[in-house]
Symmetry: C2
Subunit: 407 residues, 2 copies
């Protein structure tokens, strides 16, 4: 397996575009298109929030009911959430407009939105944007990067990656892009993500692979504990890779899942590291947990702790906050029999064990906590299960960004 720079256009037969449509932002790309030259089977996972944005309702229906999809239209700036009937009408109009221009059925066009909740989308500007997207779509890495830039909101960098691997002697690819970076919390995919592959695979196996993957990838990311109304992860497979179709579990399916996980974990880490205001990616790794669910719960609890996040921002080895977060997670363990380590590029340090502080060097701990990627490793000594979660520190900029998001 080879991971490389690339995104939604990395797999055979996929095109993309990113254009300026002035939906809400000025002077930047704010609409994206992902398009397959041939029909795709599609899988999707969506927000668990009771308040679902109109595109989430629309896409879930299409993914469930349409045998094939062929395009996704995305806008940033306005989320089309809490917009009532007008919001649903807008989704329908977007799909119809794009379907007509792309020469595919309206039911083959997914839509997605991200941005401010409660505002209506400007339909005419959307339609004008769709016209530009359809006219400008292209294959190649530049088009993929344009799309990755267009879906950003408070993200500071575009996020994409791709993996090439072999199935039955045929070279195949999975690529993808996603955007964060606030209102991000484990409970479904917590963001917008679009994955494309030329692997030939049945819709059932595609959905199974995606559903099982997110539990240990996107669902293990938290920036701020707020599960968005718009979380959407779409995986489209157009079958142009020429492998024997994957229709049941087996070696090919496992290979596909490994490649998929490489893409999703990379994107999940990018999203956490580019959380609003973040200066560091925090990785919480829990080993020796009694159950897999305990391991996930413990790792997520550390990632979500505001006090732990603020301590990492201050490069302060305040391990009590981590113990506290493990303790209120709901998982059972013995605090007297727990080992805690900080790890970074600058080294590894044993912080806590046998129920007390290890008498470590504060300078060394502060140096590790100054790394751009910090791992908090907790060995629970309760069993053999492990899990990893990703988050970021809590900085002044998170407050600045969110105290003034709409202006």
């Amino acid at each position: 397996m080879r991971q490389f720079e690339g995104g939604v256009t990395a797999a055979a037969g996929f095109q993309a575009a990113g254009v300026e449509a002035a939906i809400k932002y000025k002077d930047r790309k704010d609409m994206a298109l992902v398009y397959s030259e041939v029909p795709c089977v599609a899988a999707g996972t969506f927000t668990t929030n009771v308040v679902k944005a109109a595109p989430v309702v629309w896409d879930r229906k299409l993914v469930e009911e349409s045998p094939f999809v062929q395009a996704v239209v995305v806008n940033s700036g306005i989320a089309n959430a809490c917009t009532g009937k007008q919001g649903m009408d807008c989704c329908r109009a977007e799909s119809a407009c794009a379907g007509e221009l792309l020469g595919v059925p309206a039911e083959a066009v997914l839509v997605a939105s991200t941005g401010v909740i409660g505002m209506q989308l400007p339909l005419e500007r959307l339609q004008e944007g769709i016209r530009k997207l359809a006219a400008g779509k292209a294959d190649g890495p530049e088009a993929g990067m344009d799309a990755a830039r267009a879906i950003m909101t408070t993200d500071t960098v575009p996020k994409q990656t791709a993996v090439e691997f072999e199935l039955g002697g045929r070279k195949v690819t999975i690529g993808g892009m996603c955007k964060g970076s606030g209102m991000i919390h484990p409970n479904m995919c917590t963001m917008l993500g679009f994955l494309t592959t030329d692997v030939k695979i049945s819709k059932e196996m595609l959905q199974k692979a995606l559903r099982e993957d997110v539990v240990d990838s996107f669902n293990m990311v938290s920036v701020d504990g707020d599960t968005s109304t718009n979380d959407t992860l779409i995986l489209m497979a157009n079958g142009l890779g020429g492998n024997e179709e994957i229709v049941s579990p087996g070696e090919d399916y496992d290979t596909f899942c490994r490649a998929l996980h490489m893409v999703t974990v990379s994107l999940a880490r990018m999203m956490a590291g580019d959380g609003e205001g973040a200066t560091a990616l925090i990785e919480a790794k829990v080993v020796g947990a009694a159950t897999k669910e305990d391991a996930r719960t413990l790792a997520k609890s550390v990632i979500c702790s505001s006090l732990t996040k603020a301590a990492v921002f201050g490069h302060d080895a305040n391990f009590g906050r981590i113990l506290c977060a493990l303790g209120y997670s709901g998982a059972k363990f013995d605090p007297e029999n727990l080992d805690l380590y900080f790890q970074g590029k600058s080294g590894s340090i044993h912080i806590f064990g046998g129920g007390v502080s290890c008498g470590y060097s504060e300078e060394e701990a502060a140096r590790i906590l100054s790394d751009p990627e910090v791992t908090i490793l907790a060995h629970m000594h309760m069993g053999g299960e492990e899990a990893v979660a990703w988050g970021c520190d809590l900085s002044y900029d998170y407050v600045r960004i969110n105290a003034d998001y709409r202006s």
Copy 2:
């Protein structure tokens, strides 16, 4: 019922003291004593965190097993949490020292600590502090205020109140003090709180009253979602009020519970409003919920949302974040049939209804959100239950305080 300025010394027969003991802070009071001239029955509720500070373990045992208690010794600065056997030995030594000096059994002395996790307490300075407390204890409001000041950590103001009421023609009183102000989250009492009363009541009824009260008072407060290792709420009743002893449910018990709730809700609001870095108290009021538990869950979810908190700090009427927080709470409701209002001293404004924005004035909304106390009112139209939760906004100062707490 008459609420008045007063604290742990408001009820008959209670004395208090606050002294400088240099436990960790310099040049400020950091140890407190609450003492009853006669033995008390005591009730307590404690943190649900798996990682429990030594004083929590110690006090829970005493409250359960000792028929009477007569004093509480508190220090701020160091939490005596994650301190192993040495931490438990320290609790035992504190109780023994105070018992000897106060002439009461060691098992009648509760202890409590708040501050940095993972550091050992300096036992000699503690014992010197206890000597000063025992020598300086006094009745009257000044002594109560000294104690309320001594238990503060990042609190900016001392927190205390008292309520006078009648039981069977006898004037009786409940008073109390508490401290926040970070690591505050609903799951038991989320702070240190000490309540005293001269009401004559059995230990069983006292424990029942306290346990049932916190569900809608201290457990409805959140500052940062972090449930502390040290949360402790103690209620001591010395029976000097001369009322007929409350030994079963009935009118007197109900009156007692109403007075208790007036004290606990006042303290809970003070704690929320003085959350770390807070510029505003946020009250989330949910009405028309299907069940009481739904109402509590929805109200807490709004209070805990970092994005909602940051929006209030920015005086930004970003109601989408509130809908989002209601939506991921876990409670079921229909977003199309929900009314949302902002209320403050400056007025009341209908923000959202019928699934869409109400087209309110942004200026008016910003004015309300600039009030020091902001109420977010959500009518769910699902039933007749309601609940209130209290929190605060998320400011730059929260980050500043917590990025640098130990230095």
